[in-house]
């Protein structure tokens, strides 16, 4: 009896190809025969597995398309989707990055300036005095000038020890003042430079006045005398013809002002 219900017959049943009477007979037989029942169930399970394979590939494909479409439409915020990593960045994105970096650099610079003390400002602005070439051609070189050019600053003070301030020419006073600064002695530098400043005021001259303003400002910064330094820096920045007009930026001026207020 069971031979009649072979695989072909069972498959026809599962495929819906039996006529109603055959179908009824098989169902009755299944009630009695565990062998037929188990074989039929196994066959049905196999068919479902075949269908499942089809579902799986469809679901795979549809999910892939769905997620791809969603990424392209940017309708969600991705956290860790690897596909986004290869995405092209618009120009606006890079502009924003560049602007942010520029802003951070500027902010850092401004903060540095605002917290910079006199010693830092001195280090970043100090330049040695250089004797103009045309001067050397027109005038006979004196001893102080030779020593200054050779960088023998200490000897300059040794050879000048016997002289009083009034005996020096303005140019010599300037060399001695800047030499004192080279030797990290701002007090002595101010002593020499102030003499030129006083002479100019008294005689209504302006011999080396621009140099005096600059090196005195540097000396005051070195000393931490911000009020005096600020006055000179403001003078230099306000006079467009001043030789050292561009040596201090507005930020440095504000930095000195800030230090003066503290």
């Amino acid at each position: 009896m069971e031979n009649k219900y072979d695989d072909r017959f069972l498959l026809h049943y599962l495929d819906g190809m039996l006529d109603p009477s055959e179908k009824q007979l098989l169902e009755q037989e299944m009630e009695k025969s565990q062998v037929i029942r188990e074989r039929l169930y196994l066959m049905r399970f196999t068919i479902r597995a075949i269908k499942f394979k089809g579902y799986k590939s469809s679901v795979n494909e549809i999910q892939h398309d769905f997620l791809q479409h969603r990424i392209e439409n940017k309708s969600f915020t991705s956290v860790s989707t690897p596909k986004l990593e290869g995405k092209e960045r618009p120009m606006q994105f890079w502009t924003k990055i560049a602007a942010s970096l520029l802003f951070l650099c500027t902010l850092g610079y401004v903060l540095w300036l605002f917290q910079a003390d006199g010693a830092q400002l001195y280090e970043s602005n100090f330049i040695s005095y250089e004797i103009a070439l045309e001067r050397g051609a027109g005038l006979q070189e004196n001893q102080l000038e030779s020593l200054y050019i050779n960088g023998e600053f200490k000897q300059m003070f040794q050879v000048s020890a016997e002289k009083t301030l009034e005996e020096f020419e303005s140019f010599e006073l300037l060399l001695l003042g800047t030499a004192a600064l080279e030797l990290n002695n701002p007090e002595e530098a101010i002593w020499y430079l102030q003499q030129i400043d006083s002479d100019n005021t008294e005689n209504q001259t302006d011999d080396y006045q621009d140099e005096v303003d600059f090196f005195m400002a540097m000396s005051y910064l070195k000393q931490g005398a911000y009020e005096q330094a600020l006055r000179l820096v403001q003078k230099m920045r306000s006079e467009e013809q001043h030789k050292y007009h561009s040596n201090f930026s507005w930020a440095e001026e504000y930095s000195i002002r800030l230090q003066n207020m503290l």
Partner: protein
């Protein structure tokens, strides 16, 4: 079929159970429910990759529920999908974190909400194993079985499409392919036990 852009639950179920426009029905499921299902995973310690894996499995389990007539639209597709998705995700978390209390909590919730899910998952495991045997069949066999059982083509259409002399030849080939596949199942003890176990609750 004259469906609107968004299908009703009934239309989706008809399309799947009648093997009619299955792909479009699956697309409707993704459009309508992916966001909700993903949100659940994301709010419960998962990331987007977890969500993608879980939702894919959820869809397959849901399709199997319809295929095995365990779901005929008694409740909304939304609540069934949500329940399956939650169940699968809690099972995944349970595997990842083996805290006893959490285990018990998850098991309780699981049984209360989707009673059939563990059986369905067992079936799905059986299908996966069977698929590996299916891959061992020849290309012609695989194509023929796929076209008949998944694409729902008639033997006449398959014969014409695949170059068989007539539909009877195609039918005989199909039987031969099925027998070959079943012989492989019979020869695989692990799979046979798994199928027998699953068949214990099958119709």
């Amino acid at each position: 079929m004259g469906k609107s852009t968004v299908w009703t639950d009934k239309e989706i179920l008809e399309a799947i159970s009648g093997s009619n426009q299955i792909n479009e029905a699956i697309r409707q499921l993704y459009e309508g429910y992916y966001g909700v299902l993903e949100n659940y995973i994301l709010q419960n310690s998962g990331n987007e990759a977890d969500a993608a894996d879980t939702i894919q499995e959820t869809m397959l389990v849901f399709l199997n529920l319809i295929e095995t007539n365990r779901f005929r639209g008694e409740s909304s597709i939304n609540s069934v999908l949500y329940g399956i998705n939650r169940n699968i995700w809690l099972t995944t978390l349970r595997k990842r974190k083996s805290t006893l209390n959490r285990d018990q909590l998850y098991s309780t919730q699981q049984e209360r909400e989707v009673p059939d899910i563990s059986k369905t998952l067992e079936e799905v495991e059986g299908y996966q194993l069977m698929m590996s045997l299916f891959e061992k069949l020849g290309k012609k066999c695989r194509q023929l079985l796929h076209l008949f059982y998944y694409e729902n083509l008639s033997m006449k259409e398959i014969a014409a499409q695949e170059g068989y002399t007539n539909d009877q030849i195609a039918r005989n080939t199909k039987l031969k392919c099925m027998k070959e596949l079943m012989n492989q199942i019979e020869g695989n003890k692990h799979l046979k036990d798994l199928v027998k176990n699953a068949l214990g609750y099958g119709k």
